[in-house]
Each structure stands twice: as structure tokens, then as C-alpha cells.
Amino acid sequence: MPEIEIPVGPQHPALKEPESFRFEVDGEIVKSVDIRLGYVHRGIEKACQDRTWVQAVYLIERICGICSHSHTTCFCQAVEEIAGIEVPRRARFIRSLFGEMERIHSHLLWLGLAGHEVGFDSLFMYAWHDREIILDALESISGNRVNYGMNTIGGVRRDVTEKDVDELGRALDLLEERVKYYTDVALNEATFRSRLEGVGKITREQAIDLGTVGPTARSAGVDVDLRRDDPYAAYDEIPFRVITADGGDLLAAAVVRLGEIEESLKIIRYIIENLPDGPIAVKAPRRIPAGEACSRYEAPRGEDIHYVRSGGGDKPLRVKVRAPTLANINAVAQSMRGARVADIPIIIAGIDPCFSCTDRMVRLDDVSSGRTEVLTWAQLSARCRASR
């Protein structure tokens, strides 16, 4: 039987973001996949160089609307390291608090989308309904549902009041009950299990070789979590467990994410009970002294890395972002081989992709003819071989 190529995207009902995949299929079985990134590439790294340090924080926040707090914390940590700013203890706790609230909202969002992709729309509606609880809490503290604008260089911009703590406590009670229900669904619901079990499987060795991070790595039994391995914010003082599973399939990914929501709820409880007093920010200088720093952060999707270089001016010289989806996208290409066509959407959704974090591109400008073209990976490597 001849192999057929199926293009998926950039606009496709199963994809929430414009991304393009080309699947080579033999009947019902996927033989290989070619992923074309770059549709959402906006040039943020370059744009940071034209903005002041404080303006850059707000631009960095808009790399991704789902893990906005992760990116800003990661960036601010790097700048603080260069400038030698000591962040107040209360600000570090509030950063961790928001980090965990963001993790809960992101994982519930994933659970809903996973339910949607396997045709279990009730789960989608339930999960997104309960996600509103945490969004309300985020809104009452920060004033925003999605891009919180909490971080600034040297601390956080808004304090957590007694009233917020009370409201948050009530939200946690509600969520704890709901997460128990979802864990029960993931473990015992036959339709959900049978669509996820054994699908999108990677082994522990593959997870390490492909450089996967976050829940994708942890669901394959790789015990990594930056919150424990390289503590930032207030995680060196907070007790928590790192959730791992050994299935390597999407069911394990669901179990890991639900376990992480449970842990996040416990972390939030610990933070609001042990929130220290004191200032929430220190004043940062307008010009950051020359130097460079690399900062790491455990975002909901995995390890986020920011490299920042300062020349001593009021603008960054270079900002480099390595978002977690870029590390995990290879796992999609790997686990897609041999999968069935019907499982394509859920395997892509399985790593909780965030392409707006990831997108980058190579543009070739042909100087002699003035032509600009976009090449696939195969075309590019063929040209490299030809010119050698």
C-alpha cells in the first residue's frame, strides 16, 4: 500500500494554535511526522533589546499566556542575579504561591483539553468549570485572570492580604474535593483509560535521550524537578513530593499531572500558613551592571531556561529563551511513529504543547535575487549536503 501524506494545520480543529504537521501514513498507521514550527514566531528575543529592563518584563510575560508567571519569574531571577539584588523573603513566597496557582490552572486546562481530544467532552466542561475557581483566586489577588503582572525586578508588585488568604483557603477546599474526583476518573473511567493507555508511549531511556523535561519526563519515570534539584523562589523551605510514574504513556502523564495538582494544593496551603512578614520588593536600579546569567524555572510544562546578558545599560544586550515545549517536541515525533491516525490529536496534546513559547524559524534571504523563502528541514539539509 502506498504511503500517503496528511497535512495537519496550521488551522485545524484539533489544534488550538497554528502549527503545521505532515504525517506520512500507511493505512491507519503513522510512519513518520515532520513538524514545522514558526507560525507564532514574533521576534520577542530581539524586541527585548529595544526595551528597558522593566518594559521587557511585560513583554516576556506575553511569550505565553498560560505560563506567563513562569517566564517573568525566570527572567527576573536572571536579572536579579546579574544586579546582585536580594529578593525579600515574602516576595519569594508570593512568587512560589503564584507559580503553584499557575500550575493548577495549567494542569486543569490540560486535563480538559485531553478530555476534549479523546472525545470525552464532559470532562472538558467539568475541568474548565473548576479551573474558574483558581482563576477567580488569581484575579482577586493580582487583578488579572491570565497575565497577572505580579513580577517585577526585585520582588512582586502586589501583596497578598488577609482577605485573599481566606478566599484562597475556601478555593483550596473546593479544589481538593474536585481533584480527588478527577483522579478517580483518570484511574477508573474505562473510556478515558482505554483511549490513553499505551498511547504516545516513550521509554525512560528515550525520555532521557530526547531531553524531555517536566511532566513528560516524569511520566516516563525520570525523577527530575527543578523545584527540588535547583531550588529557586521559596522552594528550599517548602516540603513537597515529586510525582513520577513509570508508564511513559499518556495515562501516566495524566496521573502525574493530577498528582502534581494535589501537591500544588498542599504547597499553597503551606505558603499561606507560613507567609512571612516584610517588604514585597526592593528597588532595582534603572541600569543593570554588565554581566550575564542563566536562570532555570520549573514551569507547568517543564524546565524553562532564560539567558540574559547586560552591557551595563538600561536595556538588555541579549535575551535567550528555551521554553519547555521545544525540549518535549521531539518526544511527540518519537511516540507518533506507529501510532494510529485517530490518536494524533491526543498525542500532540499529550505533552501539553505551547507553541507560542516555542516558535522560532530560520529565514533565508537570497541576497543576489532578493527572494525570501521558507524551507522545510528536509530541504535545508539537502541544500547543506549539496553545498558541501
Partner: protein
């Protein structure tokens, strides 16, 4: 008479296609949130559709990147007449925080005509619903007016 019935039924159940034209996902999850139980626009007859060929309204989120531009035009052309466009979010309005980035066109209206602008970064789901309601009013107005509404974007624009 027939036009009135068509106008009424069009307003009763508009179908919406959502396209991320290079946004940061924040507006997209708020658009998705409008179909979930807290806001639930489906009770008003509004459905989110996968294909632009089935849609009356196109919701665009994002400042339109260089690579998306042609896709956005193609999707706009695929929609049947009469078609309406809602730009959701500050960057879909003017480029917003991405204004001046080398790969950004600076707003949906630089590429296709836009009917309703919903500001915010990201706008709340209530604001998005209010934006859609505004389009519905406009839809009925156009349907009942004499010359109706026929327009097509210039390919070169």
C-alpha cells in the same frame, strides 16, 4: 419577508471560527473559556466550529505574524458571505506589546477588514461575549438594509 427570516435565523445561531493569528494563547484560552459552563455561549446558539467554511464570524487573536498572514487571508476567503471579523485582544487591535517586532504586521486590520474590536490583554470572556453580541447587531442591521453586505478583501492588501 424572506430576508427578514434569514436575518433572524442568522442572528439566532451564529457559528464562530477561532483562529490564533500569532497570539500568546492568553486570548485563546479566554475564547475557549466562553464555551465552558461559567460563560457558556452555546446556550445562546453560538457554536465554535473547526472549519472557516462553516463560520459566520471569525475571531482572530494575535498581532498577525509574517508567516500567518497568508493563512489568515486564505481562511478569510474560505468563509462564506456575509462574513464578520472580531479582533480579540490588544495585539490583534494594534500589535499591542509586540508593536515594532520584526515579524509582526501590527494588528488584524492590517490584513483583513475587522468589524468589532475587543480590547484587553487578554479581554475577559464577558468582554468577548459582548463583542460577539455587537457583531450580531451589526449582522441584523446589514441584512435588513437595502444593499445588504457584499465585500471582499483585496488580494494585494
Amino acid at each position: 419577508m424572506l430576508e427578514k427570516i434569514v436575518a433572524l435565523s442568522r442572528k439566532a445561531s451564529p457559528w464562530v471560527a477561532h483562529f490564533n493569528s500569532g497570539g500568546c494563547n492568553a486570548c485563546d484560552i479566554e475564547v475557549m473559556a466562553t464555551i465552558t459552563p461559567r460563560f457558556d455561549v452555546e446556550r445562546l446558539g453560538i457554536q465554535l466550529k473547526g472549519s472557516p467554511r462553516h463560520a459566520d464570524i471569525l475571531i482572530c487573536t494575535g498581532p498577525v505574524t509574517g508567516q500567518i498572514r497568508e493563512r489568515l487571508l486564505r481562511i478569510y476567503h474560505q468563509m462564506p458571505q456575509p462574513k464578520y471579523v472580531v479582533a480579540v485582544g490588544s495585539c490583534a487591535l494594534s500589535g499591542g506589546v509586540f508593536h515594532g517586532c520584526y515579524n509582526v504586521m501590527g494588528g488584524v486590520d492590517q490584513v483583513i477588514p475587522v468589524d468589532v474590536y475587543v480590547p484587553g490583554c487578554p479581554p475577559r470572556p464577558d468582554a468577548i461575549i459582548a463583542g460577539i453580541a455587537k457583531v450580531l447587531d451589526k449582522m441584523q442591521e446589514d441584512a435588513l438594509s437595502k444593499d445588504g453586505r457584499e465585500r471582499e478583501v483585496d488580494h494585494g492588501c
